[in-house]
């Protein structure tokens, strides 16, 4: 692993402690604790059904765990609605793309800035003065993101018409538009070919390095995980079985057993 220049991994930004989550009789997560440190890239890995996506859903308020706490920026909370998580600077992308299909790329990314747009309803209705200035100011920010992700050509295209790889990129753009402190990426490289994966890795690393954004990502491609992440958390059947730098995790016996199976 190469340590990027220009960023310092700090103290914990988010800490989950003793999270247990079940749906009826199905235990999705049991007693999971780990932390996400400031400015790091944390990978959450594990076999299918290990509870990785559930973990992200707990962090941004979709699921409310039966027990355990989430401490974010020093404040502990038990339950929170997704829009509150957004207000506190947590943005995410989804495993199966959750874009607004009827809207253009530009509008999708602009919608990521909704929380930052303060002009009241009546001025918007007139599209006058402050309302227009605000639109243009945010458009400038969005254009920088469009440049960064190299999607200038599809600005005005409805996202429903875009190929899969570009949709993933637009979704990343929408998450970035919120200028998050913590970015949760749920399988950002799923279903991509090698070139697309390389592009996406570069974007993730650039975001981390340029904006100092803390990133937690779920990924199945071990090559990618070992290359770009600072630390790795491994889940299996809803339990945490390993937590450490990539080389440690790679050598961990439980992890090898979880992935390769073990003879009983």
């Amino acid at each position: 692993m190469t340590q990027q220049s220009g960023r310092k991994i700090g103290g914990p930004l988010l800490k989950v402690q003793g999270i247990s989550l079940s749906f009826g009789g199905v235990k999705a997560l049991s007693d999971v604790s780990f932390e996400i440190r400031q400015h790091e890239i944390l990978a959450i890995i594990g076999p299918n059904g290990a509870g990785k996506s559930s973990m992200l859903n707990v962090i941004n308020g979709f699921y409310h765990p039966q027990s355990g706490t989430v401490t974010y920026k020093g404040a502990t909370r038990k339950q929170m609605q997704p829009h509150e998580a957004a207000e506190q600077g947590i943005a995410r992308t989804f495993q199966n793309i959750a874009l607004f299909k009827g809207m253009s790329t530009l509008d999708n990314i602009m919608s990521g800035r909704l929380l930052k747009m303060k002009v009241n309803f009546f001025l918007q209705a007139l599209y006058w003065g402050p309302a227009q200035r605000e639109e243009i100011a945010h458009r400038e920010v969005v254009e920088r993101i469009i440049d960064f992700l190299e999607i200038q050509a599809i600005r005005k295209t409805p996202v429903g018409k875009l190929p899969y790889g570009l949709q993933k990129r637009v979704e990343l753009g929408r998450a970035l538009a919120a200028e998050p402190d913590l970015l949760l990426l749920d399988e950002p490289m799923a279903g991509m070919n090698v070139e697309e994966k390389e592009d996406m890795c570069r974007f993730v690393l650039d975001v981390n390095e340029e904006f100092g954004t803390t990133i937690a990502l779920i990924e199945h491609d071990m090559g990618v995980v070992m290359d770009i992440s600072d630390r790795v958390v491994v889940l299996d059947y809803g339990r945490k079985i390993a937590d450490g730098v990539p080389d440690e995790v790679r050598a961990n016996k439980d992890v090898i057993d979880a992935y390769l199976g073990v003879s009983h």
């Binding site: 989804f94 959750a98 919608s111 800035r113 909704l114 309302a131 243009i136 458009r139």
Partner: protein
């Protein structure tokens, strides 16, 4: 050849975000406004006003309202007729009880009251979607129909249940002849259409569309679903309320609750489906289309020497609307407005293939 945007460079984001970024569209719109405001009043006949222009403008306003709710925010409503009735009866009661009130204020109050009622009936939308929400708004329609037929105070104890208004004045100017009424309605509808366009292209509109396209993702980026849906209900019902008041005061002049029954709600829904969901232009096209088809069926076959009875014509009307709705739902869910868009796209390149 004429519709070509080559050479029109946008040097600022303001220019790129204009409602009509292409010069030819701006010219077309200006011509349309001049025709509507100057040429029509000089040439139109009484029949053209009362049978086509006035009703289609007023219904287009209600269709814009419904389109904001259904086309932009994705919440199906069958209660538009009821919200129009709220507007009409609010205006009526204000008019007879506070006669010195300016007509514009009466219209504003009609819209505000309809918005309030719309928000109340919109509350279930947080929990229920699609068909189930449609049924909840259907309940609003029936409830409001019942209120305006059964609460005597609301129709001023009129023995027949029907109410009416005398000649109207705004700022001392009469709004009596068809031309005067037409110009007054045109001004209001044009202004409110512009406001609707502004709303849907700014952050309010993006929040509505986000809720429509994927409510889970909308929540993730910080949109509050309840507030957003209720704001769509409020704006939509405001438009319906103003339109209802105009329909009652300036088109019907005397009316009873049946003027705003479930059929009105359905025909407005047909207008936005045929005209184009999620399109302000589509609301106008849809309203005009739904109004013109019956007139066309009434006048063209006799003129061609094909005798059709009135009953046959009204049956034909149902068949044509039914077929068209199915056609549009399957082939072009974005309606006539989308066909217009596609036409413009083709025209940009014509006569070249690429």
């Amino acid at each position: 050849m004429l519709y070509r945007e080559a050479g029109q460079f946008k040097a600022s984001y303001a220019a790129d975000q204009a409602i009509f970024p292409i010069a030819q569209d701006r010219v077309l719109m200006a011509i349309l406004l001049v025709v509507a405001a100057v040429v029509v009043p000089l040439t139109a006949t009484q029949y053209l006003y009362t049978a086509i222009l006035i009703p289609s403008l007023i219904l287009a306003l209600a269709a814009i309202g419904l389109n904001i709710l259904t086309g932009y925010c994705g919440q199906v409503s069958l209660g538009t007729g009821g919200f129009m009735a709220v507007g009409a009866y609010t205006a009526y009661n204000l008019f007879i009880r506070v006669p010195e009130l300016n007509l514009l204020l009466v219209l504003l109050a009609a819209g505000a009251m309809a918005a309030l009622v719309g928000v109340i009936f919109g509350i279930p939308s947080l929990r229920i979607k699609g068909f189930y929400l449609a049924v909840a708004t259907l309940a609003a329609q029936f409830f409001l129909d019942w209120v305006f037929a059964r609460v005597p105070w609301l129709y001023n104890y009129s023995p027949s249940g029907s109410v009416g208004v005398p000649d109207l004045y705004v700022f001392g100017f009469p709004v009596i002849t068809p031309t005067q009424r037409y110009l007054f309605i045109l001004a209001i509808v044009a202004l409110m259409a512009l406001v609707a366009k502004n709303l849907v292209r700014s952050s309010v509109g993006r929040a509505w569309m986000a809720i429509r396209d994927m409510d889970i993702a909308a929540e993730i980026i910080g949109i509050r679903p309840l507030q957003t849906k209720l704001s769509a209900f409020a704006v939509s019902s405001f438009y319906a309320g103003v339109s209802g008041a105009l329909w009652a005061f300036l088109h019907l002049k005397s009316w009873e609750p049946a003027a705003f029954d479930i059929n009105r709600s359905f025909s407005l829904l047909f207008m936005i489906i045929i005209g184009g969901l999620g399109s302000i232009l589509g609301s106008f096209i849809g309203a005009a289309f739904i109004l013109l088809v019956p007139i066309f069926l009434n006048q063209v076959p006799p003129a061609l020497g094909i005798p059709l009875s009135t009953a046959t014509i009204s049956h034909l009307e149902f068949m044509i609307f039914g077929a068209l709705i199915i056609f549009f739902l399957i082939v072009e869910p974005h309606g006539l407005a989308r066909l217009w868009q596609i036409g413009k796209e083709k025209l940009r390149l014509w006569p070249f293939p690429h």
